[in-house]
């Protein structure tokens, strides 16, 4: 828009013709006989509205279009051939701008164009061609629903005034009533505690917990249940994992990654942040800029793993620098995609090559953000205080000396040497033991440092970093690093800024970006987060595209609900635990999940939440629950990961090793997301291969063995054991019929083997895998 304005203005001031004047007959004659044929034959193949894909954004079939120009600016200055890009291009004086591509014009032809421009470039008979990308209408763009500040909403009128328990219920019920639907009955207490426990801590309730809840006749029994679960140390582990999907977390990155620090420090930081209910706006900022925040602690630098663990792409330095620049540009795109999708629910990366086709995000916006990432380098960072760090460094130095001594001594085969080696090894162990933090010195993080991709000789490339330096970068026209456009100041998105966004001034601008996301960007960042949490609880979101709140995303099913909840979430200090309570204490959440033929016919997808959705446990909860009911689950928290294939691994699945390039079979079979990319939500699938795992995996067999052992300790006879099993696994006692079916099964032959098979069946059942 801005550029078009300039062009019109300059056209009026230029000598020769203004757009409004009509050309003289001699000019018309000159144009029609000499210029037009030339343009048609040699230029329009790539630069005309008549073809689908124009090159370089340039059209040469109207005067206005020529004056507006293409990617590299206005094509000519009327009256001034020497100032005209078109002349440079056809004279082929500039290596990068040589037209036409299929061979130079003849000298005579070049002279014709020169004369034409001198005459003011008359273009008779051309209607002004409108370019396909007319620029973004920011005022209009800012009006889109998701960019509006969320506000408390008036509660709608309801027929059934007794049902709602929280504000959110009013909005749900209003939509149901509008459709002549009604909510389901409240869920049974046993169902409710199982649902809530899996939901908040990813484990089944124990029989004692169920008992206590079912027999608690106080009005606030359920609220206290939620409080207890939110305070459980297992809560952070459950919800931390949800975040790690978005952050494409892995324990073992690509082998060529620059960082070698311990990724689990980031995982543990996330878990702790959830556990401690770190306000979400803080949570966001620390992950993007903990190193730059004045009040952050050394341990907080682990939060930088969100970006520090970003996938790195192979840079073959034998190739030309433009190729490597392309790879680096891909990495920026990955960061922008992940940050944009995770925090803002915007597909900003779509604006890399052209303005976003649907949302008000310009290419300039894209490169303004790319500059932030181009000025931040992925590298290991210390998560210790300076003092601790020094101690650890001293210890490491001592260990290194000892290790060198050991290495030397190993050449000597004498018994004395062996003795000395053993002693030194003991010393090493001792140093490790007495040095807190020796094993968690460094985490994948970020520092302020800008990247330089430089030619190394004629064909090769070198990558250099300038520590402490931040740099703006140029627009890459059509996403091509070899085709630089305007330099763009690092800054936040235009559409989320009140007027033109101000350039970032502190270093890379990462902290300013982080702050912008939770201040100007709050309408999106808060809404997106609230919707994600809602989706985790219900299985469906208010917005069904949790990482796309743009024009292409789905509109909210309950816009007032989302607004009201988000506004209050912000008022309540961006507290996730507040949000959990608000959602789970609502009548909507506490509904039964039972089928209803009539309602199902009216709303088969349960879009209007006339019941609770039945949920299949995700792979983490399923595996953890099996370990838990078998009495095998280790609740050891944090630290280095352990392979899930290791039969001795009885820790929560959260701690299973995730390799970026090869996912463990169990995780892969059960919809674990690809950790090379941001995963907006898991897509549940049901396949025979999953059931082969259920039927045949050593894991289930091991748990069956442990479960039987536990049942035999816990209860005296078969019937009691059957009930005990039902209580442990399903949170209820077995029916008479189920007992007799089980006894029948266990009778032939009555053996421990048969018991193992029975336990295996219970573990593999739908009732265990699904929460009503």
């Amino acid at each position: 828009m801005h550029r078009l304005g300039t062009v019109l203005l300059s056209a009026m001031l230029m000598p020769g013709l203004s757009a409004a004047q009509s050309p003289s007959p001699t000019d018309v004659d000159f144009f029609e006989s000499k210029v037009r044929p030339l343009l048609v034959q040699r230029c329009h193949e790539c630069h005309s509205t008549k073809i689908k894909k124009q090159k370089g954004g340039l059209l040469l079939d109207s005067r206005a279009a020529i004056l507006e120009g293409g990617d590299t600016g206005p094509a000519l200055v009327p009256g001034h051939p020497e100032k005209s890009l078109l002349m440079q291009a056809v004279r082929q004086v500039n290596q990068k701008l040589q037209m036409p591509r299929n061979g130079k014009l003849r000298a005579q032809e070049i002279a014709v164009l020169e004369e034409w421009i001198r005459r003011g470039a008359p273009y008779p008979g051309s209607t002004d061609t409108i370019k396909q990308t007319a620029g973004i209408d920011w005022a209009k763009g800012r009006k889109f629903w998701s960019f509006q500040s969320p506000a408390l909403q008036p509660l709608p009128d309801l027929r059934d005034k007794a049902w709602p328990q929280r504000r959110g219920d009013h909005f749900i019920l209003a939509e149901l009533e509008k459709r002549e639907l009604s909510p389901s009955k409240p869920a049974d207490h046993r169902v409710l505690i199982r649902r809530a426990t899996f939901d908040l801590i990813g484990l089944p309730p124990t029989p004692a917990e169920i008992d206590a809840f079912v027999n608690d006749k106080n009005a606030d029994a359920y609220a206290r249940l939620i409080d207890r679960l939110l305070a459980s140390p297992q809560y952070g582990e459950r919800w931390g994992r949800f975040w790690l999907d978005l952050a494409r977390y892995c324990d073992i990155p690509e082998p060529w990654a620059d960082y070698k620090g311990q990724p689990w420090l980031y995982r543990d930081w996330v878990v702790r942040a959830f556990q401690e209910d770190l306000p979400y706006d803080q949570f966001v900022q620390k992950q993007l800029a903990a190193d730059l925040m004045p009040k952050s602690e050394p341990g907080d630098r682990a939060a930088l793993g969100f970006l520090g663990l970003s996938p790195q792409y192979w840079k073959e330095l034998l190739l030309d620098k433009d190729v490597i620049k392309g790879v680096v540009a891909e990495e920026w795109e990955e960061r922008i995609y992940t940050v944009g999708s995770t925090f803002l629910g915007l597909t900003i990366a779509c604006a890399r090559c052209h303005d976003h086709k649907f949302d008000p995000i310009s290419t300039q916006d894209y490169y303004a953000l790319a500059g932030v990432f181009a000025s931040s380098r992925q590298i290991d960072v210390s998560v210790l205080s300076d003092k601790e760090s020094r101690t650890v460094q001293d210890a490491a130095a001592k260990i290194q000396i000892l290790q060198e001594q050991i290495k030397k001594a190993k050449t000597d085969k004498s018994p004395e040497a062996a003795k000395r080696i053993a002693e030194w090894n003991t010393q090493i162990e001792q140093i490790k033991k007495t040095t807190p933090g020796h094993d968690r010195a460094r985490a994948p993080g970020l520092i302020e440092s800008s990247i330089q991709v430089l030619a190394d000789g004629l064909h090769k490339t070198k990558v250099k970093y300038k520590p402490g330096v931040a740099e703006d970068i140029h627009v890459q026209i059509r996403g091509n690093p070899a085709s630089p456009g305007a330099l763009v100041a690092r800054r936040f998105l235009t559409v989320l800024s009140a007027d033109s966004p101000k350039p970032f001034t502190q270093g890379s601008g990462r902290l300013e970006l982080a702050r912008s996301i939770v201040t100007q960007g709050a309408p999106l960042s808060a809404r997106v987060f609230v919707n994600r949490i809602w989706k985790q609880h219900f299985g469906t979101g208010i917005v069904e595209t949790p990482s796309d709140f743009g024009v292409q995303g789905t509109p909210p099913s309950h816009p007032q609900l989302l607004d009201d909840l988000t506004a209050r979430f912000m008022q309540n200090g961006w507290s996730l635990k507040w949000l959990h309570r608000e959602i789970m204490l609502a009548a909507t959440y506490q509904q039964a999940s039972a089928h209803d033929a009539k309602k199902h016919a009216a709303d088969p997808d349960n879009r209007w939440l006339w019941r609770m959705n039945r949920r299949r446990l995700d792979v983490e909860a399923w595996r953890d629950a099996m370990l838990a009911v078998a009495g095998n689950l280790s609740l050891e928290r944090g630290g280095p990961p352990q392979e899930l294939t290791d039969a001795k691994n009885t820790r929560r699945t959260l701690y299973g090793t995730v390799k970026r390039r090869e996912i463990n079979d169990m995780l892969r079979l059960f919809d674990f997301p690809d950790p090379t990319t941001h995963s907006a939500n898991r897509i549940p699938t049901t396949t025979p291969l999953q059931q082969l795992f259920t039927l045949n995996s050593p894991f289930l067999q091991l748990q069956a063995v442990a479960l039987v052992k536990r049942l035999k300790t816990d209860a005296a006879d078969d019937e009691a054991r059957i009930h005990r099993a039902y209580l442990l696994l399903y949170g209820r006692t077995a029916t008479e019929n189920q007992v007799s079916v089980a006894r029948e099964f266990l009778r032939t032959p009555a053996s421990n083997e048969t018991w193992l098979q029975y336990a295996h069946v219970l573990l593999g059942s739908n009732e265990f895998l699904f929460a009503d």
Partner: protein, 453 residues
């Protein structure tokens, strides 16, 4: 007979939707009767898709371009087309062609054995797609859209036809590694998840290694059946209390499929059970093994078998193109010829559609001296078998094999044609999702009728 009645009743009870058919077929006995989900009589009942991931260059193989020699090193106006990377002048293909078979269709010296099957093959020389990047092009070829969220062709077929053999997955993907974009290429998208492709890495020939957890290490078949009967009883009771729920139902069904898969797959996926003569006919290597495996699966009623040539994108010859393509062509020539011959001998070629091609082609212009860039403007694919005219070259590319020129076939047209051969009107095979009816071909696609018998 009883099964048939039950099946028919079931379809009627469920209102005759195609989704119901998918389910009905799942419940059907092995080797069930002709599929009933189609709109008209199908010519093909199953598909084998040989995917040359990375993108092969037609003028090396099936689309001779003598003009490349005359204009070697030059860059005439018509080849000044934008692809992914910068390319220089024209680089001739050094491989000689000769007319082959009764039909006289030209085949390159790189494919001497395939040349003997040319009378069964319909070469499409004018295919084009929308994007010169692997990801979007892979998606368009597999999912009918450059965005990664749409159901794949195989998923649509599984949805429309169900499986012919409930003991095996209806849609199998073979790759001795991981093709780029991996499982997104065989996703069920918004279709029910039972229709997603079953990915199998066949680089180890032991079915138990191809399919994780295929056998139970300790239980006898009888003991396991007993276990499964109990599981089914409990699961059905659980479901009955809760009313219809596709997620519960799908797990019950797939549990039975998994049980039968143990023995059926141990047999079907084991090419070591083939006579030595047959193994020799196909030759050695991952691709040969995959082709033989595909025939065994076709024989056993797998609807859609997709073979990715190799890990990553081996046909993506940005460097040393000629040298690489020699090896690649050698690797596919014998196995594909064997597959076509074998299918024909067994009478399977009559109702098996074989598709060959990449996600796009390559440029006739050179990249970094001796490589070729991606080319979405025009490329070569071929079809063979069920309902397709053999010994035919359809459409043409320009003089240099850069751009599709006459009788152009867009991927949407190809998809429409494939669906047509399988008995579907591509405009009527739809699924209601997010408020509208989706189809594989979106709002595009014309059946390429001249290539049909």
């Amino acid at each position: 007979m009883t099964t048939m009645v039950t099946r028919r009743e079931m379809i009627q009870n469920l209102g005759g939707g195609i989704g119901a058919l998918g389910l009905a077929s799942l419940l059907a006995t092995p080797s069930s009767a002709a599929p009933t989900g189609t709109h008209f009589a199908p010519r093909a009942r199953r598909v084998i898709h040989l995917f040359m991931n990375g993108g092969p260059f037609g003028p090396d193989l099936l689309d001779p371009k003598p003009a490349l020699h005359r204009f070697a090193g030059q860059r005439p106006a018509e080849v000044d087309l934008r692809t992914e990377r910068q390319t220089a002048g024209l680089m001739p293909s050094p491989f000689r062609f000769r007319p082959c078979g009764q039909s006289g269709v030209q085949v390159s010296e790189l494919l001497p054995r395939l040349a003997t099957c040319i009378d069964d093959i319909c070469v499409l020389r004018s295919v084009h797609t929308d994007n010169p990047n692997h990801g979007p092009a892979l998606f368009l070829m597999n999912n009918g859209s450059v965005t990664p969220t749409r159901p794949s062709l195989g998923a649509w077929l599984s949805y429309g036809l169900g499986t012919e053999n409930a003991e095996l997955p209806g849609f199998v993907v073979l790759c001795p590694g991981r093709p780029v974009r991996f499982s997104e290429l065989w996703t069920s998208g918004f279709l029910p998840s039972e229709h997603q492709g079953t990915y199998i890495n066949h680089s180890d020939l032991d079915p138990q290694r191809m399919i994780p957890f295929l056998r139970n290490p300790s239980l006898s078949v009888a003991a396991q059946r007993r276990e499964l009967d109990l599981l089914r009883t409990l699961n059905e009771e659980h479901r009955a209390e809760r009313g219809p729920d596709p997620a519960l139902e799908a797990r019950i069904q797939t549990m039975e499929t998994a049980y039968r898969m143990q023995s059926a797959a141990s047999d079907a996926f084991d090419i070591r059970r083939e006579p030595a003569r047959t193994r020799e006919m196909y030759g050695s290597g991952h691709f040969a093994n995959a082709c033989l495996l595909a025939r065994r699966l076709a024989e056993r009623g797998v609807r859609f078998t997709q073979i990715y040539y190799g890990n990553g994108q081996p046909w993506d010859t940005h460097n040393n193109h000629n040298e690489q393509v020699r090896g690649l062509a050698r690797d596919i020539d014998q196995p594909i010829a064997a597959l076509l011959t074998d299918l024909k001998q067994r009478g399977l070629l009559d109702d098996t559609l074989v598709i060959w091609g990449g996600e796009f082609g390559r440029t006739p212009t050179s990249e970094s001296g001796n490589g070729r860039d991606h080319n979405h403007w025009g490329f070569t694919m071929w079809l063979a078998g069920a309902g397709v005219r053999g010994g035919m070259a359809y459409g043409s590319s320009d003089d240099f094999g850069f751009r599709a020129a006459t009788d152009k076939v867009h991927i949407h047209d190809l998809h429409a044609t494939i669906l047509h051969l399988l008995g579907f009107d591509h405009e009527r095979l739809t699924y209601r999702h997010a408020g509208r009816d989706y189809r594989l071909t979106d709002v595009h696609g014309e059946v390429v009728r001249p290539i049909l018998t």
